[in-house]
């Protein structure tokens, strides 16, 4: 009887710990080996054959195709520079410059990676569409209501993800965190 309860206990603990850790790793995401600049994170290795087992499991579970590193690199942000999660009812301002790349795109997704419906059918920007300041810097306002300038609508959803993809860029696996890769700053402005 003692053996039975003991074995049962071990198995239950093992199942809870093992499956719990797997679930946690895949839903929260793991960021080891990532390249972090401010609120932005990129996983350069995920777009290569050297992708780690966590990245492989996550790709299979979500059902996405990663961006191959020879194609481009994706930076993801889920919160602003002061670690406040994006709120689609607030005004979030991106400003600054980007790493060197032939083109880049900025896209807004909900937490499931789907585009967010809005009245103007705008789901993101490409580097060609952006209006820039005379010094080359740009400002993008991510907000529920229309704004002059570069306005990216949130559709008023609660949480969202911003993905910035750089195509034909030298930023990659060997890039170290530091000044050579400038990413736009993210600040949350007024909230209703």
């Amino acid at each position: 009887m003692r053996l039975l309860t003991g074995t049962l206990f071990v198995l239950i603990v093992a199942a809870a710990v093992g499956l719990g850790a797997t679930y946690f790793a895949l839903t929260r995401g793991t960021t080891f080996g990532g390249l972090t600049v401010g609120a932005w994170t990129a996983q350069a290795k995920t777009g290569t054959i050297d992708a780690d087992p966590y990245a492989r499991a996550s790709i299979a579970r979500i059902g996405r195709l990663p961006l191959a590193l020879g194609d481009g690199l994706t930076f993801i942000a889920k919160n602003d520079d002061s670690h406040r999660p994006f709120d689609g009812r607030c005004e979030v301002v991106l400003s600054g410059i980007t790493p060197a790349a032939r083109f880049w795109t900025l896209t807004l997704y909900n937490m499931h990676g789907e585009l967010v419906a809005n009245a103007v059918h705008r789901y993101g920007f490409t580097s060609e569409e952006i209006v820039r300041h005379p010094n080359g810097h740009f400002t993008i306002v991510v907000a529920p209501r229309a704004n002059p300038g570069n306005w990216l609508p949130t559709g008023g959803i609660e949480h969202y993800i911003l993905a910035m993809r750089f195509y034909d860029t030298s930023v990659g696996v060997a890039t170290k965190e530091g000044r050579e890769i400038p990413m736009p700053t993210i600040k949350t402005g007024s909230c209703p």
Binding site: A14, G18, A21, L26, R64, L65, A68, D71, R102
Partner: protein, 187 residues
């Protein structure tokens, strides 16, 4: 008390093994991965356009809406494939994925440096079976070795402005992935 503590430690250690096993097994058991999602629309060795993502419907999550995409689900059992795509005005790329959606190679229009990106896709085995003289002329032939017998090739073209989407779409829709008939013609 000690006994339960030891059992707890044993459980946690076993849990670690369970965790690693499930992570490693997951790609093989996933039924909703990108490859499986493309299976119904993409017959083997045929280029099919991937519908542009909309808020209501997207074949895969996290697709870039600024791109026109076409895909070829390949099978190399019968032999190597030749992959070609005309480059679009802005930016074009060809990416190769294994059966488990891992990117193993990609090239863009500038790296290819031509009006048409052309690549020969084969397994390492098929590559080594190529006649010697074929390999000599390989200087201007791009050979891509697939680690798996099946997989995906995606053709993508950027529309820098929404008005340029039809042009980007036309470029990726003109992509081809076809079986070689005999030795490939020299260029």
């Amino acid at each position: 008390m000690i006994r339960w503590l030891l059992l707890l430690i044993a459980g946690v250690l076993l849990g670690g093994i369970v965790h690693l096993t499930t992570i490693l097994m997951l790609p093989r058991t996933a039924t909703q991965d990108a490859y499986s999602r493309l299976e119904p629309i993409a017959p083997f060795n045929t280029v099919v356009p991937v519908p542009a993502p909309t808020p209501d419907k997207a074949l895969m999550p996290f697709m870039d809406p600024a791109f026109a995409t076409a895909v070829c689900r390949y099978d190399l059992h019968e032999g190597p494939l030749r992959v070609t795509v005309p480059v679009s005005l802005a930016y074009s790329s060809v990416s190769f994925f294994t059966r488990h959606d891992i990117a193993y190679y990609a090239i863009n229009d500038r790296a290819a440096g031509r009006k048409t990106i052309q690549l020969d896709l084969m397994t390492a085995e098929q590559h080594s079976e190529l006649p010697e003289d074929e390999n000599v002329t390989a200087a201007d032939r791009l050979i891509v070795e697939s680690p798996t017998l099946t997989g995906l090739v995606t053709f993508r073209a950027l529309a820098p402005e929404p008005g340029m989407m039809p042009m980007a779409k036309a470029s990726v829709d003109a992509a081809k992935c076809v079986r070689w008939q005999g030795p490939p013609p020299s260029q």
